[in-house]
Symmetry: C2
Subunit: 329 residues, 2 copies
């Protein structure tokens, strides 16, 4: 295993320290337990957005703490849920009378720990559960996973909260964005978790893995490597069947790199995916291309489509100033 590390046990803490130092104008790191909050004051009275999850998906979630997005993020160990005490401490540090909106990706450990934390905090709360991954069937035993659509929910509800939306409306909006969002991933090669020291699964030189999540787990199908157009067609069809957008529907197209895929290839994927929906009369009016929800050093990408209404567009466009998503601010 070749990585830039000193010690597997201190990797996360050293990295968080570097992150905090590099972005001290935007975020603040609290330790024992690890929590990232805004370094600039949020409006005195607003719904507080808290997310978190295993580390290894950077910039998700810590890179999205700041004006117009998250108030706090709880980074767990690599690919491991944060603990309830992180979430409780995050709520205590940030809550200011308007309640907490937890944004939780649908994984058993995350769901359980956020539930424990929310039962123990002493303030109003709601939870938006993200399950945008259409590579699993809707009736899957543990439900669908939350993947790259998460940041879209964080961005849109973050802007709403910043603009004074109350807790129950933020919850309704967050659920709506999640329902209007579908994602699917593909890997050319798997990632290497530092503690394991080798890829969590192997693919032959002519194989790719369709429907991967973001934790180095297998997808739903190993297939032969094919052209970018054929790969995009397969993913876009799955997303399209799930969301069933009508002609004239406005949409956000997000091409997410899983860690090791060059921007040149992500833009090529974007081009093919945009054409897929444009041919079907969909108006791709907003875009996001880059590494936003990664899986360590996995080679691959995911495609996410979010169907937009005017409210969602307004909040997507609203100012955001975080370490890794920044505009109009």
């Amino acid at each position: 295993m070749k990585k830039f590390i000193n010690d597997i046990d201190t990797l996360l803490d050293e990295s968080l320290q570097g992150f905090a130092k590099a972005h001290a104008d935007i975020i603040q790191l609290h330790t024992q337990p690890n929590i990232v909050t805004r370094s600039t004051a949020a409006p005195a009275s607003k719904v507080v957005l808290i997310s978190g999850g295993g580390s290894g998906h950077e910039p998700l979630h810590t890179g999205f703490v700041g004006i117009g997005m998250l108030d706090a993020a709880c980074p767990g160990q690599i690919f491991t849920s944060p603990t309830p005490d992180q979430m409780m401490a995050a709520a205590e540090l940030t809550e200011n009378g308007e309640g907490v909106l937890f944004i939780v990706k649908n994984y058993a450990g995350d769901v359980m720990n956020f539930e424990i934390a929310s039962e123990m905090i002493d303030c109003p709360f709601e939870t938006v559960l993200i399950d945008d991954d259409v590579s699993l069937p809707k009736n899957h035993s543990t439900g669908r996973r939350g993947v790259a659509g998460t940041l879209i929910v964080e961005k849109i509800t973050g802007a709403a909260a910043e603009n004074g939306m109350n807790l129950s409306d933020c919850k309704i909006l967050g659920d709506k964005v999640n329902q209007m969002t579908a994602s699917m991933g593909v890997a050319l090669n798997c990632c290497t978790v530092p503690a394991l020291g080798k890829p969590t699964f192997e693919l032959a030189d002519d194989e790719i893995e369709m429907g991967v999540g973001i934790h180095g787990e297998r997808g739903h199908e190993t297939i032969k490597l094919s052209s970018a157009s054929e790969i995009v067609e397969q993913i876009a069809n799955a997303i399209n069947e799930d969301l069933k957008p009508q002609k004239g529907q406005k949409a956000l197209l997000h091409i997410n790199g899983l860690g090791s895929t060059p921007l040149m290839e992500l833009h090529l994927i974007y081009n093919i995916a945009a054409q897929f929906w444009e041919k079907r009369g969909i108006d791709i009016c907003r875009s996001l291309v880059g590494n936003y929800t990664t899986s360590l050093d996995m080679t691959g990408c995911s495609i996410t489509l979010t169907l937009l209404d005017e409210e969602m567009i307004k909040f997507w466009d609203a100012p955001v100033n975080t370490a890794n998503l920044r505009w109009n601010c």
Copy 2:
């Protein structure tokens, strides 16, 4: 070779089309020859900044076209200089009476083609040659290479031009930023150029390459894999010996991912490098961490230090609105 491509011959054009479509609010793609310009009007009268180079380094340079940075970028084929007709067309499309500042990385092909272009354009011009790579000796036969420091020159001179600085002063400022900037890279694994189909050099599982450039070429030394702290120490020492910063000096620290290195590791590198200079009394007052000057899918990173004065800080902080660098705008 596993990549998201349809055809090696159309990869660049398809990617540029996707880039242009995803960022139509910021940039515009012209074809035959390929040139990326701003889609929003620049101030009516300003020095025009034009850069360019081989593709495969995205987001450099196309991702830095926009308000406060470049007016145009000329993307060559992968790791291949753009042609003089691209640069001439870029100047014709953007020049508005105040002249052109060419920002050129020091590679023989780039230098030659920008020289040919500048001899043929019919307007005042100056050229800033970037040679920030300290892995080569100062008296190297073709001079030092231009690497990740390029974007720092583009950002600072871009802001100056946007604020009305004239051509000769932009040239002086650009040269100053270049002189105050030193970079060095390290690779854990090499990149795969699509046309070649395999890594341009091989490293054993316990080897790393010090002093790599951004074109998949060997560095100055193959060494055994060591801890992140030891790797950073070696690079930072080389940079420090070149720049010889005094105690109390303000500086920008830029950790650049070469393509396949997770943000978690880049932040760890940042943490170690920041400590290196802080111990020496340097005030790391500005930071940039992420994939900005890549080498396709190379696993590795580079460290760049720029010594700052108040003018440089002012222009670094000035509004910028490009596809891949955006703040205060």
